[in-house]
């Protein structure tokens, strides 16, 4: 289960534009979901002081002043979940100004659900029918 090939629905890469408003100390919206291969454009609008947006893993960033919308365009070619964070010191709670970029499905989340279901069934089976175990392991 952990390493089984994951069923992937084929998706056509598309261009997506997100407008993110940055204010002390959060992003609105703070979670973005895209498909791998999409071309993402983030329009960063700052509503109070100078804010930035840095995407972990992709190592790219943009900085916006209030009144000067900044755009960041990139190809979401790495699947997974990535933090994005403010990279311009914007006040006391600056380190907590974060958001999440999900590229593709969260594979490991579904894999772990699958694994825990198997483990649950197995342990219940063992608890209820302990005599079955020697039969299974006898071979």
């Amino acid at each position: 289960m952990a390493f089984a090939p994951f069923p992937v629905r084929p998706v056509t890469p598309q261009e997506r534009t997100f407008r993110i408003e940055a204010g002390q100390f959060s992003y609105t919206p703070s979670e973005l979901s895209v498909n791998p291969g999409d071309t993402i454009t983030i329009e960063l609008v700052s509503t109070d002081v100078v804010h930035g947006l840095y995407v972990d893993g992709y190592d790219i960033s943009v900085e916006a002043d209030p009144g000067q919308t900044a755009t960041l365009t990139f190809l979401a070619d790495k699947p997974g979940s990535f933090r994005f964070r403010c990279n311009v010191t914007c006040g006391a709670m600056h380190p907590f100004m974060i958001g999440k970029l999900s590229v593709g499905q969260n594979e490991w989340f579904y894999r772990s659900i699958g694994l825990s279901i198997i483990a649950t069934i197995g342990s219940i089976g063992y608890l209820m029918f302990p005599r079955l175990l020697p039969l299974i392991t006898a071979h």
């Binding site: 509503t47 002081v49 002043d65 009144g67 010191t89 914007c90 006040g91 006391a92």
Partner: protein
């Protein structure tokens, strides 16, 4: 140890200490200027004194968010002032006077209140004839000589049905006896030009087109680009990136109400709490460049509009005004 050896050892020690110590001493003597958002006190210190021609070393740091530093009416590149970092800058003033330094990175609703002064005193001893002090030779602003009341409403009673086009106005204006001088353009509103053309056989929209041409011919692509840049950096946060008065601070200004303004007569005079919409033809076509210059220079008008007179040069203000009218007129298809 011989006496001469001891002496030379002492000498070398002193020389080493002096080499290392002098720059350190000079650096330590330069005061560190702290920047905070205006609500927390702005610049500290906010008054700096220097003599003409002497280099002024400044060390700047921020105590909260990203700020910037620039001196008004001076040809200089602004520098960023970052929290946890020290920015060094050296300035030399060749004219005495009181200069305004200001924050160049938006740091909240009261960003524009973050200003301080540099008092430059003394006489210049350069062989070039000393330039007169700042503020002494500045021409009296046009709105004063014209006697315009920059607080009065200036609505255009008639507005065009579609956006006036400068390119069709140019063809129409070719045979018209109109005044194309800069002074005429600055002293009149587009509506006044429209009115003066009422004795011609042109239709209303043609008359507006001529006004658009007149405005276009009094600016250049370079001025418009410069105006656009100034607008983005200084105006768009309130007036909106597209001039519609819907900048990111527009809601905050309305919510802040009285506290976002400073008038002597109190709340009664505060007619507009929201930033002006430059895409509104009624207001813009009824305003002359001289009137807008007055508003930008002085600010106020019972609103939270800052005064820019100590920051922008005259040329910058005219460029900005030319850009403001471009929200009204279609300058497409016209080459200078």
């Amino acid at each position: 140890m011989k006496r001469s050896e001891l002496l030379s050892r002492i000498l070398i020690t002193v020389a080493v200490l002096a080499t290392v110590g002098t720059p350190l001493f000079i650096w330590a003597r330069t005061p560190l200027i702290h920047a905070k958002i205006a609500e927390d006190g702005g610049w500290n210190p906010d008054i700096i004194k220097v003599n003409v021609g002497e280099p002024l070393h400044l060390k700047l740091t921020s105590d909260d968010v990203v700020h910037g530093f620039a001196v008004g009416q001076m040809d200089m590149q602004s520098v960023d002032v970052l929290p946890g970092k020290v920015t060094d800058i050296t300035l030399t003033f060749d004219r005495p006077g009181i200069y305004t330094f200001f924050c160049t990175r938006w740091c909240g609703l009261n960003h524009w209140r973050m200003r301080g002064t540099i008092e430059v005193t003394g006489a210049s001893d350069s062989p070039i004839p000393a330039e007169p002090a700042l503020g002494e030779v500045e021409r009296v602003p046009m709105y004063v000589t014209l006697g315009l009341d920059i607080d009065a409403p200036h609505e255009a009673p008639v507005i065009p049905s579609s956006q006036p086009s400068a390119s069709s106005g140019r063809k129409l204006a070719a045979n018209l006896p109109i005044d194309r001088s800069t002074d005429y353009y600055r002293a009149n509103s587009p509506y006044q030009v429209f009115g003066e053309l009422s004795n011609t056989s042109m239709t209303d929209s043609q008359r507006w087109d001529v006004a658009a041409y007149l405005w276009q011919s009094n600016t250049t692509a370079e001025s418009l680009a410069n105006g656009q840049q100034l607008y983005a950096q200084n105006c768009a946060a309130c007036h909106g990136e597209n001039g519609a008065g819907d900048g990111v601070f527009a809601d905050d200004l309305a919510a802040a109400g009285e506290s976002s303004t400073q008038t002597m007569t109190g709340a009664d005079n505060m007619t507009m709490q929201t930033p002006v919409d430059f895409t509104d033809p009624t207001r813009m076509l009824g305003a002359s460049p001289a009137l807008l210059q007055g508003k930008i220079l002085r600010g106020g008008m019972g609103t939270g509009m800052p005064m820019w007179g100590s920051i922008f040069t005259e040329e910058q203000i005219w460029d900005l005004i030319a850009y403001l009218y471009s929200f009204q007129f279609n300058y497409q298809g016209v080459t200078q």
